[in-house]
């Protein structure tokens, strides 16, 4: 159903943009009620141990303080673990705020002060006296390797490594060219602009309206109802605007629990917002140690791939992600062995962060591929092209599409890759060594269950509703475009209602699946509206559409017409009048098609080319140019799509050069917990970025032919930067981020 586009595919500016830049878009913590209370968390200052004494008396006496909650006076909440499991919960025991005197991670909330104003809550929290019996923390993954294990309960079966194929060890031993190295990634911390916050509006009849920073209003809704035993119809959760999330907002955060708890207990509206510092205590990209071994024949054909990944998790949950499986599907190879383990650390449970797993795993694989290219002595791009594969060997399935050749070709062409000299340290510009590196990117192209409601009124106004979220990605805009396209109306005629738990069921906004899933649901619902209109039209006397079937009609210029002949049709206002209705509203629902899934795998692909310049003496690296070509099926809106990729690339540069949670392993605490000391790229670190979307037709991946874009932009970027630094300097840095200290310490390899 890939019709010629009229609105879909246009670079529409995001429709929520003016609201955001004028301050009219209100985020979770920007809603107010009279008589509202404000909550503030006191985070633990040890990584593991017990609270032996917690004295809140001074805080309680502080002017304006209404109540101080600790584990000693927490109101009764659900006991059974199943009640605490949210939609994307992990195997293990879900963190329950203020549960008991145990401390399991630095920053764990141990008290919640509720006061008549924010300042009183904040100031009083500092007056709470806590004594701990602290245990020795174990937070260094390298030290905890010995205690690693394969997750006994998989988070998702897709995350489990594929069965080994061929004889990877044997082939490795015999191959003429081989490399085997360890790659280490420091933990990264989410820092979206918007802090986690929840505003709970309490009404006298017991109903709650909650503005929550989340990527899934229904996930927060169900969590709140389950944990507090509330009737689903009495709770509405809204997230109409989300100031960035990147995966940190998938699972309900403790401020939601605490604000609802206090609201129900005190029968008042309550707001709770985290501090920037608290953002460092949860849902981080786990520290990760990987070993990648690659072997090739004399021509560079891969003979063996072995990839072992070890990630950190918490004591109480088994966080898992797909780090290494990419190595089994990326290139043609018949001898593959992949393994994945985790190790418990005295830290909070890691969580999904933009391209979870792939961002780490593909960085290791694609750096290793570059190392292999130099071992074999062929161009790194040529090595990838030689090992191109058109099927998914991991799952022994066909691919729905893979326009990766076009990505390589178009990005290389635009970048000027053909002018590259192979030898490291062979290109210079003034005092700077110039390096060109590249990498391939992979991400899953997923469809999740999604519903949507679409209505068309007799005056041509369209309303789309779904419990989807726009986390800054452009969901409002693209759903508008899909609906406008379906009815042949202008985007101004379409209203999109999302970010509300009472709207049609939608999964959390993650995995890059929202555009494909909700977009398809809108299209299905719109088609259902057309079908209903046709039914009504056929009930009209002497209907010109009497013999038409659903797939022969469409809406154009306010009329339901035959696709083949727009002269034949009826104005939909007349159809509605005849049927005695003022609007037609229908539901649409999509879910992955089991038959397609059985036969096909679906991935998004990219090729990333990076130029770095590195001062020859001082070894300060800077990324001067990035060209990314992406194959992601149909592009609904090139403007919002491009922004997604740009953001991913910038985050990839951060992963390559800057981002790192610095842990004091003596105490198990992250010490650079602010944006002055936790570095993300500044404007000066980002120069020329180019995004190319290559043509890719895919009628199987989703009903509207869309693959997601939220994640693919970051994947491969850190590897391409690392490969470019090697090309510039001859130094191979296998420890990310590649900060100046590592460059100084590394001898030249060439």
């Amino acid at each position: 159903m890939l019709n010629e586009s009229k609105v879909v595919g246009l670079p529409l500016a995001r429709i929520d943009g003016p609201l955001k830049v004028s301050g009219k878009a209100r985020y979770a913590a920007e809603h107010f009620a009279t008589d509202m209370l404000f909550g503030r968390v006191l985070p633990a200052t040890i990584a593991t141990g017990r609270i032996t004494d917690i004295d809140v008396s001074e805080a309680e006496r502080f002017p304006g303080v209404v109540k101080v909650y600790t584990y000693k006076n927490r109101p009764t909440v659900a006991k059974r673990e199943s009640k605490w499991k949210d939609e994307v919960a992990l195997p293990g025991y879900t963190m329950r705020p203020l549960e008991d005197d145990h401390v399991q991670f630095d920053g764990q909330p141990i008290a919640f002060v509720v006061a008549e104003n924010f300042e009183a809550a904040r100031d009083a929290a500092e007056l709470i006296r806590v004594r701990y019996a602290a245990y020795d923390p174990h937070t260094d993954l390298l030290q905890e390797q010995a205690n690693s294990y394969e997750p006994p309960v998989p988070r998702m079966k897709e995350f489990m490594p594929p069965k080994p194929r061929g004889d990877a060890e044997g082939a490795f031993a015999q191959a003429p060219h081989k490399i085997a190295f360890e790659y280490y990634m420091e933990g990264e911390h989410h820092n979206p602009m918007e802090l986690f916050g929840s505003t709970v509006l309490w009404e006298k009849d017991g109903r709650l309206t909650i503005h929550d920073k989340t990527q899934g209003p229904q996930n927060s809704h169900d969590y709140v109802c389950n944990v507090f035993g509330l009737k689903p119809e009495n709770v509405v959760v809204q997230n109409k605007f989300v100031g960035g999330a990147f995966g940190q907002g998938l699972r309900p955060k403790y401020q939601l629990f605490l604000a609802v708890m206090a609201s129900l207990d005190l029968r008042r509206s309550v707001k709770a917002e985290m501090s920037r510092r608290e953002m460092f205590y949860l849902t981080w990209r786990p520290v990760c140690l990987q070993k990648v071994s690659l072997a090739a024949d004399a021509e560079g054909n891969l003979q063996s791939i072995m990839h072992h990944a070890l990630g950190g998790t918490s004591r109480y949950e088994d966080y898992q992600e797909n780090v290494a499986n990419w190595s089994g599907m990326a290139y043609k190879c018949d001898n593959v062995k992949i393994s994945y383990e985790i190790a418990k650390l005295d830290r909070s449970t890691p969580g999904d962060m933009r391209a979870p797993g792939a961002a780490s795993g593909v960085t290791a694989l694609e750096t290793a591929m570059d190392e292999l290219a130099y071992e074999v002595g062929i161009d790194p791009l040529e090595l990838r092209i030689r090992n191109f594969i058109h099927v998914d060997q991991n799952q022994d399935k066909e691919l729905t599409s893979k326009a990766l050749h076009a990505c390589y070709r178009e990005a290389a062409e635009s970048f000027g890759w053909a002018n590259r000299s192979h030898e490291p340290r062979s290109m210079k510009d003034g005092n700077e060594l110039v390096g060109w590196g590249m990498a391939t990117g992979f991400w899953e192209a997923q469809l999740s269950e999604a519903e949507a409601k679409v209505s068309l009124s007799s005056d041509g106004k369209v309303v789309v509703s779904a419990a989807a979220s726009d986390i800054g990605t452009g969901t409002y805009t693209i759903l508008n475009q899909v609906a406008a396209e379906a009815f042949g109306v202008s985007p101004q005629a379409v209203t999109v209602r999302i970010g509300d738990s009472s709207l049609p069921k939608t999964s959390v906004e993650g995995g890059s699946w929202t555009a494909a899933s909700s977009g398809s649901a809108v299209q299905v619902a719109a088609r259902a509206v057309v079908a209903t209109l046709l039914k009504h039209a056929q009930s009209m006397p002497n209907s010109p559409l009497a013999d038409a079937s659903e797939d022969q009609v469409e809406i154009a210029e306010g009329r339901l017409v035959l696709q083949a002949n727009h002269q034949v049709g009826v104005a939909f206002a007349d159809i509605m009048e005849a049927a005695g209705v003022s609007e037609v509203e229908e539901h649409g629902k999509v879910a992955p098609d089991p038959a397609t899934m059985k036969k096909f795998s679906a991935y998004t692909h990219s090729a990333v080319f990076v130029e770095v310049k590195v001062d020859e003496e001082l070894l300060i690296p800077r990324v001067t140019r990035v060209v990314t070509a992406v194959a992601a099926g149909r592009i609904l809106n090139p403007k919002t799509a491009r922004s997604q990729i740009l953001g991913g690339v910038v985050m990839g540069v951060g992963m390559a050069l800057h981002e790192e949670g610095m842990v004091d392993h003596r105490t198990g605490r992250v010490m650079n917990h602010n944006l002055a000391e936790y570095h993300v790229p500044a404007h000066a670190d980002i120069e020329d970025l180019e995004v190319i979307f290559v043509k890719e037709d895919d009628d199987k991946v989703s009903p509207i032919g869309v693959k997601g874009l939220g994640e693919i932009g970051i994947v491969g970027v850190a590897a391409a930067v690392s490969n470019a630094i090697f090309h510039a300097t001859g130094k191979r840095i296998r420890h990310f981020p590649m900060t100046i200290d590592k460059l100084l310490a590394e001898p030249d390899r060439h």
Binding site: E126, N431, D741, L744
Partner: protein, 338 residues
Amino acid sequence: MRRFDYTRAETVHDAVVALAANPDAQLLAGGTNLIDLMKYDVARPGAIIDINRLPLKDIEELPDGGLRIGALVSNSALAYDERVKERFPLLSSAILAGASPQLRNAATTGGNLLQRTRCYYFYDPSTPCNKREPGTGCSAIGGVNRIHAILGASDKCIAVHPSDMCVALAALGATVEVEGPDGNRDIDFADFHRLPGEHPERDNMLQAGEMVIALRIARNHFNRNYTYLKLRDRLSYAFALASVAAAMEVAEGQIVDLRIALGGVAHKPWRDALAEAEFAGREANEATFMQIADRLLSGAEGQGHNDFKIPLAEKAIIRALKQAAAGRPQDQVVKAIQ
């Protein structure tokens, strides 16, 4: 954050009297550091004396062609002042290497001198820190210390001074004008900040009740051969891992007068005037610059994570001296190192 009393001073005298009368009081100028510290519960002043209305916002000519800079002149106003750009371009360049435009608009000259030192642990009140709470110990020693001092540290404190502006002022040999309950006094810039020693809680030599009212910089000949080279973990809006303010007078390939100060490596801007004097008359070439680097870093000692700062500072010194000697100062907008 703790509650505090707020008053606004209308005259320097009022401010000094109020400050002297209350040991728990602190002055508020741009607030770019103090307010952060209060939010983090690191600074807990019982009283804030707002000095933003004091008449200390002028840059005045001195008879010798030098300049007197009021304590409340903003970093931006100072950096972009035509006289500063022409006579003391090193100062202008150093200021523009620091912070962000927004911060430079708010931050003041006096406040820049009085920034607290940089250390993860100092900023986290739940950790022991001799600077915050004397006698509790230094958490950075043996902890996360890649940003810490390689020169002049003590076993009580290894924090570093964060300023870029002060590194240039140290090299230029500015004078700090101070007013206190007992009147005015001058402090040489080199003596204004102090090393941690046994008392890391004290960052500078101000006595109780004293405030900075101005800086004086005497006319010099360092407006041709100078540079401010700042090396950091990202290309803007990051503190220095190591920075170098270098200036020299060169005649016929020889160093006539040399000034060099280092930032990001010690509890104060690091300058060694004796060492500078030893190199007068030497050839302005790489061999000399290497010796200068050796001399300046002779006592350098790493703490583990920051060991790399020693070779980094060495390379930075040599490069900065090359830039200065060549009259090719580092451009603070162009990110390639010149």
